[in-house]
Subunit: 384 residues, 2 copies
């Protein structure tokens, strides 16, 4: 397998241990057909992997990410920097790389090595930008599926994802029901509800209102940073929960030396926190990727796979599904986790639901090791 | 009393039945001293009133508004258009104008007739814009208090407010504890928590990022409408609740003819709803007023009136206080209503708490007549 540098010029934001794999297309062509129309003449998927594929090729675990992370889910010899799910993946960890061959893919449409709006269209020699075709969660799942095939895996032991990654995992199990044994979906949903659509719609509008967006035709060095910063702040609000911030910030003020000179500048710690984290993100994410992935989440609807949500969920026939939800999640509320659990259960399948009291909202899976690690350890240790 | 037109040139957004009263200033001057420093050389307060002041001057009810409404809380012979609290105020209604002399004031710093950033500074002959001094909820309460004095009312029967208006009512009872008999605070708070500060901070930043804001020096005809529209959409999200939108919109799409041509334009009904309501608001609200009032809410803290929230609340000694909260409110969560109730109760005062199951979130008081009208009717009917 090649490193990123072998295949094409590497944007600075591809993590060092990330590798790229070029997919075979659909129907004997190299074209990757998109669900809502259009196709991509060539798709490359960026991934990282840990552990070794067994001789039987039966120990592969595919991890889909949320909207913003790269494939660097955990550290390795080649890239010792901590990954976005460092506590979850590794030797002796809940997803134990002494037992499993774990692959994390960067989602189709994203910007950390996988083909997306910032990639060069091989047919035109230009970046796709907003000529990238409509992107769906099902396309993301398909790109992950095809990438695993390129890596020699025709059948997954498990597919795992949280947030948008949970949707991608559901889409995987819906589209390839015979090719996966176990499914884990965390803080995800069968379909986005109006509050989540509204939260994301405003983020997209803010990016599009930034004059630097230039109808999507900005140069890579001239990203619409103002719009992206503001959008990310709204995202951050939707990812966390009030109670955590009450305990962490309460009404603390920033030191006067950090206070902006502007009359309405940063004054409370929570404002400073949002500002710091939004800027950190904006420096490493493509605006058009943000728009496409965000809209893909709005569109996702399990009901498209059978006429109703329950009919869709009935198509999933993994040996066991684990559904985890968090009580303080406002973006993918716990009632939506119950909907997945109930739907799969009604179809007579083996499904477990864990309702966690984390106070950290939607993003708990990233940070609440105390609650998530034991739940995931138990599930994976029971896989024989 | 004069009509708006008698006193100064009337911006088009002063409702027809609104009257203006010029305040006497503090310490024998005409200056209105502001809590955080600075002063206003002249303050005019816009108000509407319904019912008649009794001979004993003992039946006055002062209503403070939330961030965005004018003093037009209900209709009258002079202005038959429905007010923002039409179901609550009027003959035979919960706040019965056959019994009470009801006055609603436009808040200091707002833009519907009361002095605010869009007013002319009589010392310079120019609009204040961002030279308007720091505005606090206590200043808003004081302007209401002084306005009532000009109207011949030295002692209120009751002060009432919801949302920001609830904060203003609390500030009134804190600053003039001997001059009010009954207090009603709805979906309000002793102080803003980080999630509410964050929600408002982003709205302000979006307005300030609009190039048309021009550091606050825009011409009245060239308001930063893009920024205000986006900010209002975020506001609207924080004012409502997920469950209402699930029932109302679910995943309904707009008719293709209303769908924007843009790739990321309006597609879901909830997006269309936000767009319609945000534009309606923006055409009738001054951007600098929005910034000042928004920040005033962040700053408000009952603890400033005694060292702690409870010590502050102990200063309120109305005969009875009614606290109403809504379970689905994410901006001023019901736990904050309990905080008010508990604090006043601990001080040995008569206080009642009503926890409503409305699914319409923070804005329930505007629309959930079914739950709010009986609660308010009972309280006011018991005032002898």
């Amino acid at each position: 397998m090649n490193t990123a540098k072998d295949i094409h010029s590497v944007p600075s934001w591809i993590p060092p241990a990330t590798r790229l794999v070029e997919l075979h297309g659909d129907y004997g062509t190299t074209d990757f057909i998109m669900r809502r129309g259009g196709s991509l003449p060539k798709v490359v998927v960026a991934y990282e992997s840990w552990g070794r594929l067994s001789q039987m090729h039966d120990n592969a675990v595919l991890v889909f990410t949320g909207l913003s992370p790269s494939a660097h889910a955990c550290s390795s010899h080649e890239d010792p920097s901590p990954g976005w799910w460092e506590y979850m993946i590794g030797p002796g960890k809940p997803i134990d790389t002494d037992r499993f061959y774990v692959v994390c893919v960067n989602s189709l449409g994203s910007c950390f090595g996988t083909t997306g709006p910032s990639s060069i269209n091989s047919k035109t020699g230009k970046r796709y930008c907003v000529d990238f075709p409509d992107l769906t969660i099902e396309d993301i799942a398909k790109a992950g599926h095809h990438a695993m095939q390129e890596l020699g895996v025709d059948h997954l032991c498990a597919v795992v994802g949280a947030s948008m990654g949970g949707m991608s995992s559901l889409a995987y199990a819906l589209q390839y029901p015979d090719e996966v044994d176990y499914l884990v979906t965390i803080s995800s949903a069968c379909r986005s509800l109006p509050l989540a659509v509204a939260m994301r719609s405003i983020q997209r509008e803010i990016v599009r209102c930034d004059p630097d967006w230039k109808d999507g035709l900005y140069e890579p060095s001239e990203e619409p940073k103002n719009g992206m910063t503001l959008a990310r702040k709204i995202g951050l609000i939707s990812y966390r929960a009030g109670e955590e911030w009450n305990q962490r910030f309460n009404r603390a003020r920033v030191s006067p030396k950090f206070k902006g000179r502007s009359k309405f500048g940063i004054e409370f710690e929570v404002e400073s926190y949002l500002d710091y984290n939004a800027h950190k993100f904006v420096d490493a994410f493509d605006a058009n990727s943000y728009l496409y992935l965000s809209r893909a989440m709005d569109w996702f609807d399990v009901a498209e796979h059978g006429g109703s949500v329950n009919a869709g969920l009935a198509k999933i026939h993994s040996r066991k599904t684990l559904v985890i939800g968090v009580e303080t999640d406002i973006l993918f509320p716990v009632t939506q986790q119950e909907e997945i659990f109930n739907g799969i259960g009604k179809a007579g399948r083996n499904v477990e639901f864990i309702r966690l009291p984390s106070i950290k909202g939607h993003d708990s899976f990233l940070i609440d090791e105390e609650n998530f690690a034991p739940a995931m350890s138990k599930f994976f240790s029971e896989i024989s």
